[in-house]
Symmetry: C2
Subunit: 325 residues, 2 copies
């Protein structure tokens, strides 16, 4: 079988997840890792060529580079940079900036002849797909996206910056009553605090004023002030033992009416014990699609909305028609 040669750019949580995912995808092979700290990564990775992120990799055939960095600082720089050299896949998730990032990647793609799948993952990504499908199948419907129960890394980081906080882990929790109302076909307008609540586990610094820590977190603008937030103080050991995993998940619900008042409800749900490992798997499926689109001579930026689902699958179109229809 012709293997798809994959390079990773970045070797953190998602990069390690992609490395694992590639082992389960027998049509792919990890051929290179590009990182800012090649010395360290070489200690962990024996069988793969490790390069500094600015090093040339011309000796090896790289079909698709998967950008495993963060959306704040890494991808906005690395996307356009690696787009010059490779087909790429990334998980750029700053929703408001997706249109302009798409334009930038698309224009580089048209010039250099590559395929770039941007904003892949579960949200944006699969959930985007579900919102588009729900809206297409049930016009004039209402849509609701719930996240959780799961760890929000952005909110954890924000809580960690509060004075007196040694470590923090923030969970997003969907409000069960809201989910149930939508599931039975109601279509209310919810305020933010009616959709989700937040629970923050905090290891306080010795001697910290826990009451002001609690207040500083719960009233933090943008991150917490629009939600009901519970802050719980725990020990360092409890943090390590009970909160070291990165579970997440969520629901996309579309609620519409057809004909004489017939309620039609569509729901997509994912329940993930490891958010970065699942995201990694989605990135690998998108890398396969990028490889195939590129082989067909396509060039440009793509979101998951622009990719026929069959391209994501390791199976042939014939097998899919025979065994999955």
């Amino acid at each position: 079988m012709e293997k798809i040669n994959i390079a990773l750019v970045g070797y953190g949580n998602v990069g390690r997840g992609v490395e694992e995912a590639l082992k389960l995808n027998v049509d792919t092979e990890l051929v290179a890792v590009l990182t800012r700290r090649p010395e360290q990564v070489r200690k962990e990775l024996k069988d793969v060529q490790v390069f500094h992120i600015d090093e040339k990799t011309e000796d090896i055939q790289i079909d698709v580079a998967i950008l495993c960095g963060g959306s704040k600082e890494d991808i906005p720089v690395q996307g356009p940079k690696f787009a010059e050299r490779f087909n790429t896949v990334d998980s750029f998730d700053t929703h408001a900036e997706i249109p302009s990032y798409f334009q930038k990647m698309d224009s580089i793609a048209k010039e250099r002849g590559h395929v770039h799948v941007i904003s892949a993952g579960w949200d944006p990504g699969i959930f985007s797909l579900m919102r588009v499908l729900g809206d297409a199948f049930l016009p004039q419907s209402e849509q609701y996206t719930f996240w959780g129960e799961g760890v929000s890394q952005g909110h954890s980081d924000a809580a960690r910056k509060v004075e007196g906080v040694l470590d923090a882990r923030a969970y997003t929790i969907p409000i069960e009553q809201a989910v149930q109302r939508v599931r039975i076909g109601e279509t209310p307008e919810f305020a933010k605090r009616e959709l989700h609540k937040r629970m923050v586990y905090v290891v306080a610094e010795e001697g910290a004023d826990t009451e002001s820590v609690r207040k500083d977190i719960a009233t933090m603008p943008h991150y917490y002030d629009e939600y009901d937030t519970e802050v719980l103080f725990i020990s360092k050991e409890a943090m390590l033992e009970e909160h070291s995993k990165l579970p997440h998940g969520g629901f996309v619900l579309t609620s519409g009416v057809t004909g004489e008042g017939n309620k039609q409800i569509l729901e997509y749900r994912c329940q993930l014990e490891s958010n970065p490992e699942f995201t990694a798997n989605v990135l690998v499926a998108c890398a396969r699609a990028a490889f195939r689109l590129s082989k067909e001579g396509r060039k440009g930026a793509f979101t998951m909305l622009d990719i026929a689902p069959g391209y994501l699958s390791p199976h042939s179109a014939e097998t899919l028609r025979k065994s999955f229809m």
Copy 2:
């Protein structure tokens, strides 16, 4: 706005559903109905041109014909026939025959230059999509499809043929325990009777031997013998009042493991108060895709696995990136 001109072939439950759906899709317009009984349909439909199914329609511009007949007798004949004249969409749902039907439609398409979206609907169709996505995102996972609670028209028809039965309505009901086991991440192998049970409401003929009716239904090969089946006798009036709707639905569950034993569960669920009306809406979205693919010069047979999701949406790619990602 340029409207997509739609013709219906057949005017039963699904045809009426498509007529309703087209009203909610402002980029489409119903321009013709082709039917075996034009006289009757003309009485119901005043503002649309109604033709006999074999009549010529050359005077009107038809962008896509939606075949609204059944998979047993209508579509296998009408698909190839109308493929000669139009882009088409159909809901051919005889799973085992999809590969050969695809080949037939594809070869006509290549000759005549049309686009044919086959086997659209929710299963096959959306559920096929979810099985492919689940398998692509979680390699080496287990998949489960549950149907119901809803009316199975095939099983209702089969029960109606039993001696002593005046009318029958068969419901497929997923076994809640099985659903729950999969939802918590177990991956058992189920026998058919562990996944679904059947409940059949029967209006018996006067003087019928209800015990033998019960037995004849419950032991019917293929349809009922592999399931636990409950037969309930009701009055004609109760049948009309309580069982005239055609609700349905189901779940596609994908259960996989990544990394060090992290369970990842994906679930798609639809809960439909009207199965034919929802199917109709999916057909309309696919007609939009067929129209756009055809405008781009594509030709061939397509399943929903071959269509980039954005093509199904009434919104532009820019709007989708801005508002749905």
